[in-house]
């Protein structure tokens, strides 16, 4: 391209990944060819809130699980807890434990999926490795076939537990107000115990692998720490009474960019702390901390942008409730220079720590004698009114909120989906990556990787279950001139090959 040329252009990266449709990034360069503005767009809306209206509340756990087929269990559980509140019933101990056991199996499985299939390849295989190898096959090649089998097998077994307890692994039917639909038989318990043990070993194994392959590689650690992937924002996550990470229950805790507790509130109070902002260029709504007001896509303690998911949860909590995970937790912060960690890519590591915790928790519950108790339902007696349910989805805090008439028919439903909490920060990460990496209108494969990694670290809901299978996520960059005509196209295909046209 001649020097004198006006370098004002538009770059379209479409699709990057998918949240209720594909994600789409529009990058606009100024005349000097550096990034002026980058839009991260979500191009579809479903309107569950609307068509929840008129449905019986008890159907919501099954209807809302269809918001996401990757984390249906998260929606199912948040919804079920909302129903407990709606009917003001407390599940019997066994039911509560079955729910958390079910949920722990889900988190273990879902995190494993991401570590090995999605995010994993970036690190286990390595960001610089030929893209052709940067997929689960590459992972297997690197760690060995039997390990590969182990990963897939582990996932299968965990899904078997979920099917046994919840009827279906995708879109389960477990949750009812005040309990669960089905009890666990002693023989099922034995099976679950067995798998839970394996899961814990699997968790430790994963942590070792991660240490070996990632943390002992300074390159990776530098990459994780690099400024391009760093945002100083607030963090949100659910904790138990001891402020330890909990996926199933507890108050929501928010810490400042400095790591101090900013607020700690019960789910029912979420409207006092969380609000959503609408932009005309995306169907997704951007959640922010209500008391601080919407300050745009900015960082720092003045901004109201916050972050959820593994990175945020570890920052928010003061530790893990299980021994092995607690160890890993300390190691994590020690290695990354204390709390809070602001590096987006640290999500991967945090996820491994959480995987271990979830597996340990699964084991605890599987061994609990009460888990086979047949007393699993508290029948509602009071007229339903309003209920809020919150869980920590693998991808962050998830809130369901229902209002019904006296017959329990939904009048109003509101949901704050994990990824919405992160939407603002994702947009920022994308723009920051773009700004940091694109200059003089040069668009290289590096950009694509980096942008992709920045994005994928969040494992956005519909975290693109098969993202990297096979091949790393392909990207397209179209270079337009200021008239909008396509000037050049740069593509990295699913097989990693790069083409220019």
């Amino acid at each position: 391209m001649p020097e004198t040329k006006d370098l004002r252009r538009r770059i379209t990266i479409d699709p990057i990944t998918r949240l209720e449709g594909h994600g789409k990034i529009e990058v606009f360069l100024n005349e000097h060819g550096s990034v002026e503005r980058a839009f991260f767009q979500v191009p579809e809306l479903r309107g569950f809130e609307k068509f929840a209206q008129g449905r019986p509340a008890e159907e919501m756990p099954q209807i809302t699980s269809r918001i996401c087929g990757v984390c249906p269990t998260a929606h199912h559980m948040a919804s079920t807890k909302a129903l407990d509140g709606l009917y003001r019933v407390t599940p019997p101990p066994a039911a509560r434990k079955i729910r958390e056991l079910f949920y722990s199996a889900f988190v273990t499985e879902d995190h494993a999926l991401h570590v090995y299939f999605l995010g994993g390849p970036d690190f286990i295989v390595g960001p610089k490795a030929p893209a052709a190898e940067r997929n689960v096959l590459g992972v297997i090649a690197k760690v060995g076939v039997e390990v590969g089998q182990k990963v897939i097998g582990m996932r299968r077994k965990l899904r078997e537990i979920m099917t046994a307890i919840g009827g279906k692994a995708v879109h389960p039917v477990l949750g009812l107000p005040g309990g669960v639909a089905k009890h666990i038989t002693p023989s099922e318990q034995e099976k679950i115990k067995q798998i839970a043990k394996e899961a814990v070993d699997f968790g430790s194994f994963t942590l070792e692998t991660f240490n070996k392959l990632v943390l002992q590689n300074t390159e990776y650690v530098d990459l994780i720490r690099s400024d391009a992937f760093t945002h100083r924002t607030y963090y949100m996550g659910m904790v138990d009474e001891a402020n330890l990470v909990n996926f199933y229950d507890g108050p929501v805790r928010v810490v400042t960019p400095e790591g101090k507790e900013w607020k700690k509130f019960a789910a029912e109070k979420y409207l006092d702390y969380i609000a959503e902002h609408v932009e005309p260029w995306s169907y997704v709504k951007f959640a922010y901390l209500k008391p601080l007001g919407w300050k745009g896509f900015t960082e720092g303690s003045e901004s109201s942008v916050y972050c959820v998911a593994p990175l945020a949860r570890l920052n928010t909590a003061e530790g893990m409730a299980t021994p092995l995970a607690q160890e890993a937790y300390q190691q994590y912060f020690a290695a990354l220079g204390g709390k809070p960690v602001h590096h987006t890519l640290a999500n991967h590591w945090a996820r491994v720590v959480e995987l271990l915790y979830a597996a340990e928790r699964l084991k605890e519950l599987a061994e609990d004698p009460e888990i086979t108790d047949s007393q699993i339902r508290t029948l509602p007696t009071e007229a339903p009114r309003e209920g809020v349910g919150v869980v920590e989805a693998p991808r962050g805090t998830l809130i369901h909120h229902y209002q019904t008439d006296e017959k329990g028919i939904i009048q109003k439903a509101n949901m704050i989906v994990a990824t919405q909490n992160n939407a603002a920060r994702i947009a920022m990460s994308v723009e920051k990556a773009a700004k940091g990496l694109i200059s003089d209108g040069n668009v290289s494969e590096g950009i694509l990787n980096m942008v992709e990694m920045a994005f994928r670290a969040y494992d956005p809901c519909h975290g693109c279950a098969t993202h990297s299978l096979p091949g790393s996520m392909p990207l397209l960059v179209r270079v337009h001139d200021h008239r909008g005509d396509v000037q050049a196209t740069l593509r990295r295909d699913w097989d990693g090959s790069i083409r220019r046209s």
Partner: protein, 335 residues
């Protein structure tokens, strides 16, 4: 799978995946093939899969028509983009498969047809209690900001099933389909002779056939009341209907091996109707209301009222593919 698609050593059958308005659960089913996933990856050449690879539209356009052996499309059709992609894939694929309830029947996203697009935008961007939107900003299909313009796909007023947009060859039912059905389907499609066009790749009997509770339904079952699941301790062996719980098994195609009843919850009908039924909800409706035990109109009315949400119950997954397809729009919203 690890060599460039451009220069395949031995050409494998090309397969494409696409998702419209769906949740990703169908993709999870692909993963739930577990070890078999690798076999699939080895057996076919996946040329389009937005979740995994980005051949953009024009790459697919570049493919010769009919050069793709099979395109699996899941999700209902909600946006202009989805419609365009559906047409494109139809053109390129020998065989177009509607994967899952949403593509086959409209699915849960199809419940949006109970309200207008306007209503949905309102509730999302204005009425939601957590949304702060004083200027009533709505997402725009075309948005301009100091000379820069970004676009979003337009939303249709009405959600449609795939075959209301393009010609569909086969259907794989379920929300989501079971890995077993998917696996069998892949085999059928890679096999030598294909089933007749329009076939739903699942058994053609109703679910009771394979329900472990089948024998516990009395021959002459009539009911004075339907019970909601939260109000009754559901027995783990007995027929749901015999317990007064609305179960749509009698109207629903089998093939899932009665997963929900095995989870001790009633069938909600995600597998849709058998090949002999045009409107799933209508049949689900008669399955339930014809067991009402009364001849007195008032009592019947009372019993009928114990089903709190007929449309949401009988058309949970099939509203767009139903004969009525959507709630009648207020004249204002009419075309």
């Amino acid at each position: 799978m690890t060599e460039p698609a451009a220069v395949p050593k031995n050409p494998k059958p090309k397969v494409a995946f696409y998702w419209c308005a769906s949740c990703g659960g169908c993709e999870e089913t692909v993963l739930d093939l577990d070890e078999r996933v690798l076999d699939v990856v080895v057996a076919v050449n996946i040329v389009f899969w937005p979740v995994a690879l980005d051949f953009k539209r024009h790459h697919v356009e570049a493919l010769p028509d009919g050069s793709v052996l099979a395109a699996f499309v899941n999700g209902a059709v909600r946006t202009t983009e989805q419609q365009e992609m559906a047409h494109l894939l139809r053109k390129k694929a020998k065989v177009l498969v509607a994967l899952g309830s949403c593509a086959q029947l409209g699915g849960i996203p199809g419940l949006a047809n109970l309200s207008s697009r306007e209503g949905i935008l309102q509730s999302s961007y204005c009425e939601s209690p957590s949304t702060v939107n004083p200027e009533k900003v709505f997402p725009q299909t075309l948005y301009k900001e100091n000379g820069q313009s970004v676009s979003l796909p337009g939303l249709f007023e009405t959600v449609r099933s795939l075959d209301q947009v393009v010609d569909v060859d086969y259907y794989l039912p379920g929300c989501p389909p079971t890995p077993k059905l998917l696996w069998d389907a892949v085999h059928v499609l890679l096999g030598s002779e294909l089933p007749p066009k329009g076939t739903v790749l699942a058994p053609d009997r109703a679910l009771c056939e394979e329900c472990p509770r089948k024998d516990t339904r009395p021959e002459k079952l009539t009911l004075k009341e339907f019970k909601r699941p939260q109000d009754v301790l559901i027995d783990e062996e007995t027929c749901m209907l015999a317990q007064g719980v609305v179960c749509l098994g009698p109207a629903t195609r089998s093939g899932c091996e009665a997963l929900c009843p095995q989870g001790n919850m009633p069938c909600t009908g995600c597998f849709g109707p058998t090949s002999r039924v045009r409107d799933y909800g209508a049949k689900a409706l008669s399955a339930i209301s014809s067991i009402i035990d009364s001849n007195d109109p008032e009592e019947i009315e009372k019993i009928v009222q114990t089903v709190p949400d007929p449309v949401g119950t009988f058309y949970r997954y099939s509203l767009p593919s139903s004969l009525l397809r959507r709630r009648k729009l207020a004249p204002a919203a009419k075309l």
